[in-house]
């Protein structure tokens, strides 16, 4: 009889504990690899300790993340989603996110205007900003690339890495190549022609770790990609440098967003605020050379030299209309697949 009481009490305790833990738990996504490790260090683990909560992190890239949110619209399973490449605009337009009001964020006053420009539209704030340009092996890529169109340079044939459109950095670098070649968001034929010309000497990859492996093991010399990975590769001992081609580079804020229809909105808002604080901003800049969003971020001398900081620097960068990207992405992917298929 006693064992039955204990068993019953144990079961009850388990149920209650599960229920309680559901209150102090956040489900978020991150982007895997070195990025996710840094994310944990700068924001996730610190928040867990400071607030005694549990955060469940799943590695999901932005396009996949929006697909999942769409599928889960009736009963979303994520509290906070991190999105890049303008996908926050698509998610907000579809009502998948809860709008955030400036007064709900303690760090709001310290943020640069570019980080919060679309909060009124229901998007979350940017917590770091990446720049998409050209990665190149400083020792082997001779001459060093100067222009986006240099991907067709026969000197790089066999050592060029292009990124698939399923990856946001691949999409943005392609749109830039298209722009430089004379195309627009409505006409990507010029961009596809350039890609077709360089296809014979190119490998097409889709995930960040694959790019890393390509430079480390597969003799890659040139790859249009984001600045953060150049720094990661340099840290890994490879002579890889980042440059902004002469026609400009693409600016891509990475946003943290509140998912609509979830119970832990107050805790989630706290997490979002925590992501925007000065230490986190500085940490991202030191680790990956992301542009800081918080005016009060204190950067070391080398980090300050390597990042684009402040309104002036970001003014010269190119952005593409995220709503248009969201609408046209499907059609672009179809055309891209046909161009790259063997």
């Amino acid at each position: 009889m006693r064992s039955k009481i204990f068993a019953g009490a144990g079961l009850l305790a388990l149920l209650v504990a599960h229920d309680v833990s559901a209150q102090t738990e956040l489900v978020i996504n991150s982007f895997g690899g070195a990025y996710e490790r840094k994310h944990r260090e700068l924001v996730i683990d610190a928040f867990e300790k400071a607030n005694n909560v549990k955060i469940i992190v799943t590695t999901v890239y932005s396009a996949d993340m929006v697909a999942q949110l769409r599928a889960q619209k009736a009963a979303p399973r994520f509290d906070i989603v991190h999105l890049s490449g303008g996908l926050e605009a698509t998610a907000a337009a579809e009502g998948l996110l809860s709008p955030i009001k400036p007064e709900q964020l303690a760090n709001y006053a310290d943020l640069y205007p570019f980080a919060v420009q679309n909060i009124a539209k229901g998007e979350g704030p940017a917590y770091s900003a990446a720049v998409v340009g050209m990665l190149y092996d400083a020792n082997k890529a001779k001459p060093a690339p100067q222009s986006w169109l240099d991907i067709t340079n026969p000197a790089y044939a066999g050592h060029l890495v292009l990124t698939d459109l399923s990856n946001n950095w691949g999409l943005l670098s392609f749109l830039m190549i298209n722009k430089v070649a004379g195309g627009t968001l409505d006409n990507i034929a010029p961009g596809l022609d350039i890609v077709k010309k360089s296809l014979a000497g190119a490998t097409i990859l889709s995930k960040s770790p694959e790019i890393q492996q390509a430079f480390a093991q597969s003799d890659a010399w040139v790859a249009p990609y984001a600045q953060d990975y150049a720094f990661t590769l340099t840290q890994a001992g490879l002579p890889v440098k980042f440059l902004q081609p002469k026609e400009g580079a693409v600016f891509s804020p990475i946003t943290v967003n509140l998912v609509a229809g979830r119970p832990n909105q107050a805790l989630a808002l706290k997490f979002i605020d925590f992501s925007l604080r000065a230490e986190a901003s500085a940490g991202w800049a030191e680790a990956f050379r992301y542009a800081p969003v918080n005016r009060k971020a204190q950067l070391s001398a080398e980090a300050a030299a390597g990042v684009l900081s402040g309104e002036e620097a970001t003014k010269n960068l190119v952005t593409f209309d995220p709503i248009k990207i969201g609408q046209m992405r499907g059609a672009w992917t179809e055309q891209w697949n046909r161009t790259i298929a063997k």
Binding site: A67, D164, L165, S218, D219, N337
Partner: protein, 272 residues
Amino acid sequence: MKREAFLLLMPGVVVLGFVFALPVAQVLLLAFDEGPGQIGAANFSKLFVDSYYPLVAERTIRLASLITLVTALLGVPLAYVMYRAQGWIRSALIVLIVLPLMTSVVIRTFGWLVILGRGGLLARTLDMFGLAPRNFSLMHTETGIVLALAQVLLPFMTLTVLAAMSRIERNLEEAARTMGAGIFATLWHVVLPLARPGIVSGSLLVFALAVSSFVTPMLVGGVRLPVLAGAVYQQMTSTLDWPFAAAQATLLLALALLVILPYARLARARGG
């Protein structure tokens, strides 16, 4: 007696209906969804607007057939060896075959990425014999896909054929040998025909698995060698055009049935 059989079957049929028939029916219906409130075959005509999807479908079927052939060529002799082996050797071989099945297919595929890549085991071995340079790579090739997927699916063929062979009576082989048949003649005239049902089941299983596989082809073949299942995955997660993805899935199902049904019927007709 019939009523009892019916009642015993009912729970299984109901479960199968929910987890199999209902989702498949939903996908088929989704394929005809042309937008809010419209029904039509626009998604299917989109598939044939140019040669891209037909090429993807052709590649899927061709690679799946090749993989089935390779696993049969490797798996049937292996099953025979296992069938003839006794005691601990047989157990060891079974463990060797089954162990990979307990590892995730992604992990096994990653193993292939290392072997097939530049400077990998394959490249270095070929370089040792002077057959290929060090940076030779089967990554991002159809050959690589066939190799990796054949290895992943080999246990399914081997175990199915082994099960069929185990039901063959030993004395039949001995009888053939005493009548003067050599080893290969015995194999050809006695063992293989008796194991045919197993070989047929094994090939159907491997073909069905190979034709719907997308993880290994995506990882080994890359984005330039799409297969139908991979295209469906991309539509579902990246382009987000679910009705079109459903149309592709229906095409995959139709093509697979087109190959499997005649094959199964033919095999049964010849006494398999």
